[in-house]
Structure formats: C-alpha cells, structure tokens
C-alpha cells in the first residue's frame, strides 16, 4: 500500500469485547487463586504458589523481553521495525507492574515456605542442626534471603527504569522530532544490553533454578533467556496480527510479519539448541547430582517433557520453515499461539518438579491462573497501547519501515 494515506495519529481504542474479556480473565484468575488458597490443603497451597510463580515469571519475562526487543532494534539501528515499535513499548511500559507482581509472589512464597524451601528453612545452614545441609550451606553466601530479594529488586528495577526511559524518549520524539531522542535511545540501549546480558542468567538462576537448590546448570540462564525472548517475539506477533485484523496498523505488511516469523523460527531453534546442550551434557556425563533434574522430569512429567519439545521445536520448525507461512497472518498467528502455550509447558516442567514434585496436576488452578495473567497482560498492555498513537511518527528510520520489502 502507499504511504501517503497513513494516519500518523491513529490510536488504539481499548473498549468493547476485548476489554470485557480481559476483565473476565482477571476475575477468573482471582477466583482460581482464591479457590487454591481457601479450598485446598497444604499441597494445594504449594501448587497455587507454583502456578503464581509460573505466570508472574512468564508475565515479567515477556515484558522485559519487550524492552530487550526495543534495545536490540536501537543498537542494530534496524529500520524495518520502526513502525511497530509501539507494541513492544507498550509491553515495556507494563514491566514495572509485572515486576511488582513477581516480587510480591516471590516474597510471599519465600516467607510462607511454599517456594524456595529447598534452601530457605530453619537450620539448613546451621552446623549441628538436624536440618543441616552442607551443600546449601556452601551456597548460602549467594542464596540467602536478603541478597536473593535484593537481587530481584535491583534487576527488575534496572530493567523497569530502562523500559520507562525508552518509552519516554519515543514519546518525546513524537513531540519534538529530530535525532536527539534516537541518539539517547541508542546510547541507553547499548548500556541496557550489556546489563541485561549479564543479569538475566542470574535472574533465571534465582527465580527458577533455585527452586531445586541442590542442582545447578550453567546453561540454565541462556535456556531461560531463549524461552523468554521467543515467547516475547510471539506475543509481539500476536498483538500486531490481531490489531491488523481489527483494522489498525494497516501499514504493517507481509514483510514485517516475515521478519517476526524469522525471529520466532530462529529463536525457537536457538531455544532447542540450548535446551539440548543442557540435556546432552547431563545425559552424557551421567553424574547423579546432575541427572536428578531429568530423572524427576522423566519419572513424573514424561508427557510434559515431550510435549514441550513438540510445541517449542517441532511446531515452529515444521510450520514456519516455508516462506509463505511466515508471510500469512493466520499461520503465523497459529504458530505464535502454539509457541506461547509451549513456553507455558516449558516453564511448567521447569517449576513443578521443584515445588509440588509428584503432586502436580492440570486443572482449575493451572488454567485459571494462566487465564488471569493473560487477562491482566491484555488489560495492562492494551491500556498502555491506547494512550499514544500506534506509530512513532518522528522515528528517523520510519520511511524505511513503511517501505519495507523482503
């Protein structure tokens, strides 16, 4: 389509069915969590906490990878994405909310001994106590409550500050034009990427890997990074395709979808690569303290274990290999949703064996919590999106994006 009839002040209106459905989702989520806490026994409480952690982590990761997407585009001085940046910006703008929720869930789980009880219990690190655990005691320099919570707050705080900065610069650019905002975004993106690269593995070690504190894997950080990055890309694709179908963002053409499809395809393979690298080394070395991780997953979670690979590797590889599939919005939408569900399964089999072990389940609590957070995500991100025009009209590379062709 031509670029002469683009409405540069087009704004998303967050009303009607979408708004109602997202609120219904939140209510269902709150109901499911309440059911888990009030109707269940101790195992049920733990299961509810594990689900809360799963979805809060997923929520925060998708939002902070939205910021990562922005930073990557600025550092690469990418032109193709200039006209779709408002979507990841809306996700970045939601990050502070997601960060607060994640920190609340982690603290509540930690202090109520529902989460992280493998390293946080009375006497675990006190020599001579009946609970004494030499391995945990050796790790307690790093894994102790103040330092652990401090790291969470600092990491999520830093990510949130950069998110707010990127969004602010882009809004300033809308008003003032010129290159100043872009230069500032570029500089901050460079700083952010270095910080993000070094801290996300530690963030993943803390939040997820420390659920099973005896076990460790240095690949785990990148494994989680791949998961959060690809799920964030899939989220961006879903939002853009649905907006386009609702009549917004008509300047987004098949080539933009093609790029997003390539990203999802490529990083799904990257995810598999990291997943497999972690698996193969543990399988090959066959050391009991490492194989315990996969032993548990094979013993109680065999179905989820293979479903994870099928949804996150086979589905994107087979369905997105073809060029036309990446360029067709229905197919890309379908694969993106499969990948998003797949990473729920991925996080599920990362978290559950370390918390509820053999008492896992898939029922009201799982589905309800997931629906609740999806509703919350939809509500917060679309609210953020509706505040400003859908196109950053003074982005210096905007014309390149509007004429993007592959």
């Amino acid at each position: 389509m031509g670029t002469h009839n683009i409405n540069f002040s087009e704004q998303f209106e967050f009303t009607g069915k979408v708004k109602t459905l997202s609120i219904v989702g939140i209510i269902l989520g709150v109901a499911a969590i309440a059911y888990g806490f009030f109707a269940g026994d101790k195992v049920m409480h733990e299961r509810t906490f594990a689900n809360l952690l799963l979805m809060a982590y997923y929520f925060a990761c998708v939002c902070m990878s939205g910021t990562f997407f922005l930073a990557v585009q600025y550092v690469a001085q990418a032109g193709w994405s200039a006209s779709i940046l408002r979507v990841p910006q809306a996700m970045a703008k939601t990050l502070p909310i997601a960060a607060v929720i994640l920190i609340v869930v982690i603290s509540a789980g930690l202090y109520s001994h529902n989460l992280y009880h493998h390293w946080h219990a009375d006497g675990l690190t006190v020599e001579g106590s009946p609970n004494y655990d030499a391995i945990i005691a050796g790790k307690s320099v790093f894994l102790n409550v103040p330092f652990f919570l401090g790291r969470q707050v600092v990491f999520l705080g830093i990510y949130s500050i950069f998110s707010i900065l990127f969004v602010k610069y882009s809004y300033n650019e809308d008003l003032a034009g010129g290159l100043n905002s872009y230069r500032k975004s570029f500089k901050n993106a460079c700083i952010f990427l270095v910080i993000y690269g070094f801290t996300t593995p530690v963030f993943a070690f803390d939040t997820i890997m420390s659920l099973e504190a005896h076990w460790f894997s240095t690949m785990f950080g990148w494994y989680n990074f791949a998961a959060m990055w690809v799920s964030s890309l899939a989220t961006i694709a879903v939002i853009i395709i649905l907006l386009r179908r609702a009549g917004y963002m008509q300047w987004v053409n098949n080539s933009h979808l093609h790029n997003l499809g390539q990203f999802i395809f490529g990083f799904s393979i990257f995810w598999t690569y990291v997943w497999f690298a972690q698996f193969l080394l543990i399988y090959y070395a066959n050391m009991p303290e490492e194989t315990v991780y996969f032993y548990k997953r094979f013993e109680y979670y065999k179905f989820w274990f293979f479903l994870n690979l099928a949804m996150n590797f086979l589905a994107p590889v087979l369905l997105l290999m073809d060029r036309d599939n990446k360029r067709t919005d229905v197919k890309l939408l379908f694969v993106s949703i499969v990948v998003l569900l797949g990473h729920w399964v991925d996080y599920y089999q990362m978290i559950m064996p370390g918390t509820v072990e053999a008492h896992n389940g898939f029922g009201i609590i799982e589905i309800g919590t997931a629906l609740g957070f999806v509703g919350l995500f939809t509500f917060t991100v679309l609210t953020a999106l509706s505040k400003k025009p859908l196109i950053a009209k003074n982005h210096p590379l905007l014309q390149e994006s509007l004429h993007h062709q592959l």
């Binding site: 497999f276 698996f279 193969l280 399988y283 090959y284 066959n286 290999m321 060029r323 062709q405």
Partner: protein
C-alpha cells in the same frame, strides 16, 4: 534476416530502466532479461520472475546430510565397533544429534554454494556469461530477444524514449567469450 540476436538498452539510472521495462511491456514486447550492477527492489515482480527454488534444494541437501551422518555413526558405533561408554546403549540417539546437526549444516551450505555456481555458470573454469560488460559496473541493461521481436525500430525508439543512453545490437549472445 539479420544476424542480430539481442537488442540491449543500456541505462544510466535504475528508475529510467524500470520505466523502460514498463514501456516495453505496454507494447507487448517480451523482455529476455535485465542486468543490473546492484539488486533492485520489486524488479522480480515486475518481470514476472518465478521464485528461486534454492530453498527446496537446501532442504534436500540438508536432509541428505542428516541421513549420511546418521548412517555413518550408526555403522561405526552400533554395527562395526561397539564401545561401552559409561554403560550406555550403543544406539544412544542423543549422542548422535550434534554430528547429525553439523553434517546437515555442512551439506546444506556446500550444496547451496555449488547449486548457485552451477545455475549461474560461475563455476571455476567456466567463462562467465555476460551480455554487456558495463552491466557489471555502472549500467542497467534491458535485453530483448531480436528474433522473437521483429520490430527493431520500435524497440529502439521505446528504449531511447525511456532514457536509454545507448542501444546495442549484438550478433552474439555473450560478449564475454573471447
């Protein structure tokens, strides 16, 4: 019947050349090919060129690599010389995966390079096929088959109208065979 095989319109500007393509197409003159020193967006669609099938070739090369790697490892580790590694079964599929992956990439990359060379006649030892040497430098060249399109003066006029700096009448297809 003249010996002229190809009429080449040589343009100094890509936009004028695109305009020339439109002019020729409007007059139902079939274009043999277009040669440019740089890639031009949208030219494939305009000329109606079919999409490259190199992706299919890539897939075939890749899957050949996967099968070769699997066959090689299976023969070595399972049939010919079983070695007990940490008590694992000889046929331990996860161990096979890295080599299968690497050979897939290797076969795919080499195969695509060879396919590309073969299909573009750039194979070492072959004379390159060039219709106008300046198309490799600073000119944008439209080639029209002179035998299929009889009205040479009309073609000449259309090309010059569109801004061609020079119109050549070649009696040989490729000027690079010396």
């Amino acid at each position: 019947m003249s010996d002229i095989k190809y009429i080449l319109g040589s343009f100094g500007d890509p936009d004028e050349m695109m305009h020339g393509i439109e002019k020729l197409q409007e007059n139902n003159i079939s274009i043999y090919d277009v040669y440019t020193p740089m890639p031009i967006h949208g030219i494939e669609a305009k000329l109606g060129i079919k999409r490259s099938r190199i992706d299919i070739a890539a897939f075939c090369f890749g899957i050949t690599g996967t099968c070769c790697a699997f066959a090689l490892i299976y023969f070595c580790a399972v049939i010919d010389w079983r070695v007990n590694i940490g008590g694992k079964p000889s046929f331990a599929l996860p161990d096979f995966v890295p080599i299968m992956f690497e050979l897939t990439v290797l076969f795919c990359a080499f195969g695509m390079v060879l396919t590309y060379y073969a299909s573009t006649h750039l194979f070492p030892g072959r004379a390159p096929r060039v219709m106008d040497l300046r198309a490799t430098d600073d000119r944008f060249v439209i080639a029209v088959d002179a035998k299929d399109n009889a009205e040479h003066t009309v073609i000449d006029g259309l090309l010059k109208d569109a801004g061609a700096l020079e119109v050549k009448y070649n009696e040989r297809k490729y000027v690079s065979y010396e």
